[in-house]
Symmetry: C2
Subunit: 306 residues, 2 copies
């Protein structure tokens, strides 16, 4: 394969944590996903929308890391989506200060001709109707489709959400969302119910408690989060996880259980890097050596001989 | 080594969960620890105290699983400690209904002559002064001492607690207690501070989010909890973990990093068995075949090839 398409938000973020404060930096799910995905050296195409206020230098940052940004539509007289949040002193809770959808409110993703040959598609967290519209607009179904969503769509558009889920291969949600979507408290039972909506794999993210991967033939895998002493900013960790996951799958051109397990580790590695610096700063810096070392740390963290 | 000594409570428990309700069954930390420890075929000696109301058949249950109960003092005209609790529908919160210390209020652990040659000592969660008294009363220091404690002793007897910690090899606490004891939110930083009180290893239990093991030379290991669909009663899971940990170490007669990591897995296996039935019922039933199969499940849960 080697061709990854990402559809989602590219936006401004402003973050405040006990360790510092940023101005309007590059944010949005698709920015994190694409930076993490492009790390694997695969063709990484983004479909998104920004306003005329979005600096060329921010697009250049994405480009410099190998992300193709021609699919990011610029609405000249519009404003880019803006999110601002503040973390408490333990970084385990955050308060949203501002959410301005701006041009993202009318996001109508057009897939450019040269992006049509996607092997892996990552649908960021947007309205399930728009996620399905992307699938309609693709001339052929990508071999592997990963979809993110959130509790808001479970509350407001459950029928459309279920339909979208039935059309993709992998869903990524967090533990509380898995419980809400299934009505089951046990994550094992929740996974069974959710997978039966038509998935091959389900990933349940548990934040700094790691991530669970389930398959439609009953297999289960757990990837821990790397315990860290220097979390600067957790913003984008979940999207970096998704990007690492998709980038690894795209690179390997395989979607079997062993590959998907390793892809969850690749995602966890990207999530851990993301947290160490503000915004996507670390994703802009990491190299193969750093990545390989971190994979080793993950291996050592859980390996034992009985 | 092969000689494990356990000091702690043997008591009555009465538990109510969405799946059922028990009468007064065998409870107390030392019951769970000894049942889980004796599973490994090591000499397992218990020092505890019960009242005249404690049925001989309950002591016989411990004996039938290989636990030596001569060190359980029977105060004929006293009543056994009694704890009763109720779990909410998701089993993630519990309410204590009754705690009657009874004869346990005056627990003055005497170590019988034939228990003096302990290789591994497990000090259950009791007043740190009493934990230290046990050490004084031992003619020689066991090779490996594991100690449990709780937030109550951090609040009420912090100085004695620190002294007790400095005298043992391993401390087991949960994540909230680790944060309280260290004043650090990051568990990595918390572990560093707590280990510097004089430990070789620290185990931080995170309930159904697994357990972290730290060494005094900076190593770290993570054991997941096995995701389960049939948790009947989580009472005693932490003590079963401690018992499995100590039993495995005693059996292996080694305390190096690789052995201690595997011991954490052995503990996690015991904790998972404990939750599947009420009280210690499952610990009374499990056999080697079941244990080996479960270890394999733990191996498969986190193993990946990158």
């Amino acid at each position: 394969m080697n061709n990854l398409l990402i559809v989602g938000s590219v936006a401004f973020d402003a973050v405040e944590t006990p360790f510092g404060k940023t101005d309007k930096i590059i944010g949005g799910a698709a920015s994190y996903i694409s930076l993490a995905g492009a790390f694997f050296g695969v063709t990484t195409n983004v479909v998104a929308v920004v306003g005329g206020d979005f600096p060329q230098e921010y697009l250049d940052i994405l480009k410099s890391r190998g992300v193709n940004t021609e699919g990011i539509k610029i609405v000249k007289d519009g404003k880019s989506m803006f999110w601002s949040g503040r973390y408490n002193k333990n970084m385990n809770e955050r308060e949203t200060l501002v959410t301005e959808l701006n041009v993202f409110a009318d996001f109508d993703p057009q897939v450019p001709k040269k992006y049509q040959n996607a092997d892996v598609l990552m649908l960021g967290n947007i309205h399930p109707d728009i996620q399905m519209k992307v699938l309609e607009r693709l001339e052929r179904r990508p071999k592997f489709i990963v979809m993110d969503t959130m509790n808001f769509w479970m509350d407001t558009t459950p029928t459309q959400l279920d339909k979208a889920i039935s059309m993709v291969d992998v869903l990524t949600i967090n533990d509380e969302e898995a419980r809400q979507l299934s009505g089951e408290y046990s994550l094992v039972n929740a996974a069974k119910k959710i997978i039966s909506k038509g998935l091959r794999y389900l990933i349940i993210k548990k934040g700094d408690n790691g991530a669970l991967l389930f398959s439609n033939d009953g297999k289960m895998f757990f990837a821990p989060a790397l315990p860290m002493n220097n979390v600067s900013d957790p913003t984008g960790a979940g999207d970096s996880f998704a990007g690492g996951f998709c980038g690894y799958i795209t690179k390997k051109d395989k979607t079997d259980w062993e590959t998907v397990k390793s892809a969850v580790i690749a995602g966890s590695v990207m999530g851990s890097f993301c947290c160490e610096r503000f915004g996507s700063e670390n994703l802009q810096l990491i190299n193969k050596q750093m990545f390989d070392l971190r994979v080793k740390q993950f291996e050592e963290l859980t390996s034992f001989k009985f």
